[in-house]
Amino acid sequence: MSELAQLSANGLVTGSILAIAAVGVSLVYGILRIVNFAHGDYLVFGAYIALVVNVSWGGHIVLAALAAVVLTAVLATALEFALWRPLRRKRAGVFSLFIAAIGLALVLRHAIFLAADARPRRYEVDVFQVYELGPIRLSQSQLVAVAIALAAIVLVGLMLARTGLGKAMRALSDNRALAAVAGIDVDRTVVLTWVVAGGLAGVAGLLQGLVLNSFTPNFGFTLLLPVFAAVVLGGIGSAYGALVGGLVLGLVTEISTWSALAGGAPPVYKPVVAFSVLVLVLLLRPQGVLGKARLL
């Protein structure tokens, strides 16, 4: 049983990071119909910004997290003006947006490689500090990650439910034309959506970097498909769904290795478990567990 508790705790760590990355992808898809293939690389950008602050300048990890949030939000917003808005002006279709996103992912990832090279990097944190909570052992990094991620999840949830911006985002995602007619400032909401998605990507990137312990610019792509899986699981375009989808997917992939489950899946197949969840959900319930059927 203690194995299950430990796996669940690990799943909560993985899942909460997936959740805050997925909510950004889901908001952007819901509002702009962009499958943002570059989102994983936004995470990497945030992780490396934090690395510069934390390691090169010796700043505290909290300061690094703030820098990651702010600068990744700036990056995402700048790209809205430089890339996505011009593409929308030219009435680019789903294919064009998808392919532009792939191009952007290639540019961002390899620009980071160029700036930071391929050496594995790590933050200045105490990797040997381990906390025991009953049967569960969590490293300091994991504990920090889960605390920050859960706080971010609650904040995003409140923002979506209570603030005017959150309501505007949900309205746009639900029915763009109707929302515009109802007087919602579409351009402003779109920009703020990128700010939120980018900021969350920045913090998710930092946390993933912490949890991975050492990382290279490739981690963004590795994490991207599980993030998509979380988005799909929760119902594409549903922000609450993405939060739940991320947590559930994190738990499912970790618990799939539990030895009581017919010996458990080999840990190397954890990504495959995530992809299989993705494929199964799309086949059996493409609107997602929480999604609405009419969105299809």
Binding site: K90, F98, G103, L104, L296
Partner: protein, 325 residues
């Protein structure tokens, strides 16, 4: 090797030829039918691995193993298509890339079947270097002898390969182009433009999509076979999702649904990808070779973005055929 050696440019040409065949498969699926298949590299992997495994582990003759490889890729295409082709375009894209990653993870981790991360050299088990290439080298030597009679000493291994790959690529181009001009090809285009209209005219849209996916998979398997023959051994890393993105770059660069633009796109891609390795003068000497590899990928990314912004139809395409909702 220097920048001007025939050998080097023959190598660039072989890569361009293999990518022409790979991109032709994507042209059928994406360019004509509108299927966003992002798992194309997996079909290439299935083809290459099936051939290598059958030759090394089951002692198949090469021709039989190659036919089985193409059949396996078609079977994988059908297996993938049956449940997923009813999905919307963007969902299909995500599902196919997940499928391709599953194939790659299996190739990395099922060492007894595939040789694992080091590749096919470990197919025969530890301590013995496996090779599937002996029969191919015989074929290649025969062709090389014929060529020597015509062009003398220029007929090296890579030049021979260049001739074989491009001969196959051109034959496939002619055949596939004819198929796509036939009534069958017109139905595929109509599905891309308006699925509901095609369906209302009594066409079985699902069956046509499945055929397009299977034909594309078979072409990817042929590309996989030539890739395997060219490099004597390969590993799961050779079928990275980047390979699929490269194939898209070629299709889009030439122009969606323009078959004769594919070789042009592939040669341009070959020049960007392999040709720039020999830019050994300033300002390129400011970067070391790893940095130049990153720069190449940045350039390819910028080309994709630039095309989508300024010329979504590619160099030779029609704008109406790319700007789809």
């Amino acid at each position: 090797m220097t920048a001007l050696s025939l050998e080097f440019w023959a190598f660039v040409g072989v890569i361009a030829g293999i990518y022409t065949i790979l991109a032709l498969g994507l042209q059928v699926q994406f360019g004509f039918t509108g299927l966003l298949n992002f798992g194309h590299a997996a079909f290439m992997a299935v083809g290459a691995y099936t051939m290598a495994i059958l030759v090394v582990k089951a002692s198949f003759p090469l021709w039989a193993a190659s036919l089985a490889a193409i059949a396996a890729a078609i079977a994988f295409g059908l297996l993938l298509g049956l449940p997923t082709l009813r999905l919307r375009a963007d969902y299909l894209a995500i599902t196919t890339i997940a499928f391709a990653e599953i194939v790659r993870y299996v190739a990395i981790n099922e060492q007894t079947l595939t040789g694992g991360p080091v590749g096919t050299i470990a197919l025969a088990g530890p301590g013995r270097a496996a090779s599937y290439n002996a029969e191919w080298l015989d074929v290649q030597r025969t062709v090389q002898d014929w060529l020597e009679a015509v062009i003398g000493d220029h007929a090296t291994r890579d030049v021979t390969m260049l001739v074989i790959v491009w001969a196959v690529a051109l034959v496939l181009l002619v055949v596939v182009d004819a198929a796509l001009r036939s009534p069958w090809g017109r139905v595929l285009r109509s599905i891309r433009e308006d699925e509901d209209a095609a369906s209302a005219l009594g066409k079985n849209v699902f069956a046509y999509k499945l055929q397009a996916l299977a034909l594309g998979a078979a072409l990817a398997a042929v590309a996989g076979l030539f890739f395997a023959f060219q490099f004597s051994f390969f590993s799961p890393g050779d079928f990275d999702p980047l390979v699929t993105f490269f194939a898209y770059t070629i299709v889009i660069l030439g122009g969606t649904a323009r078959n004769w633009a594919l070789p042009v796109g592939a040669v341009l891609f070959g020049l960007i990808f392999a040709g720039t390795r020999f830019f050994d003068f300033t300002p390129f000497t400011l970067f070391d070779s790893a940095d130049r590899a990153y720069l190449r990928l940045i350039v390819i990314g910028l080309i994709l973005i630039g095309l989508m912004l300024f010329r979504p139809q590619g160099l030779f395409g029609k704008r109406e055929e790319m700007v789809l909702e």
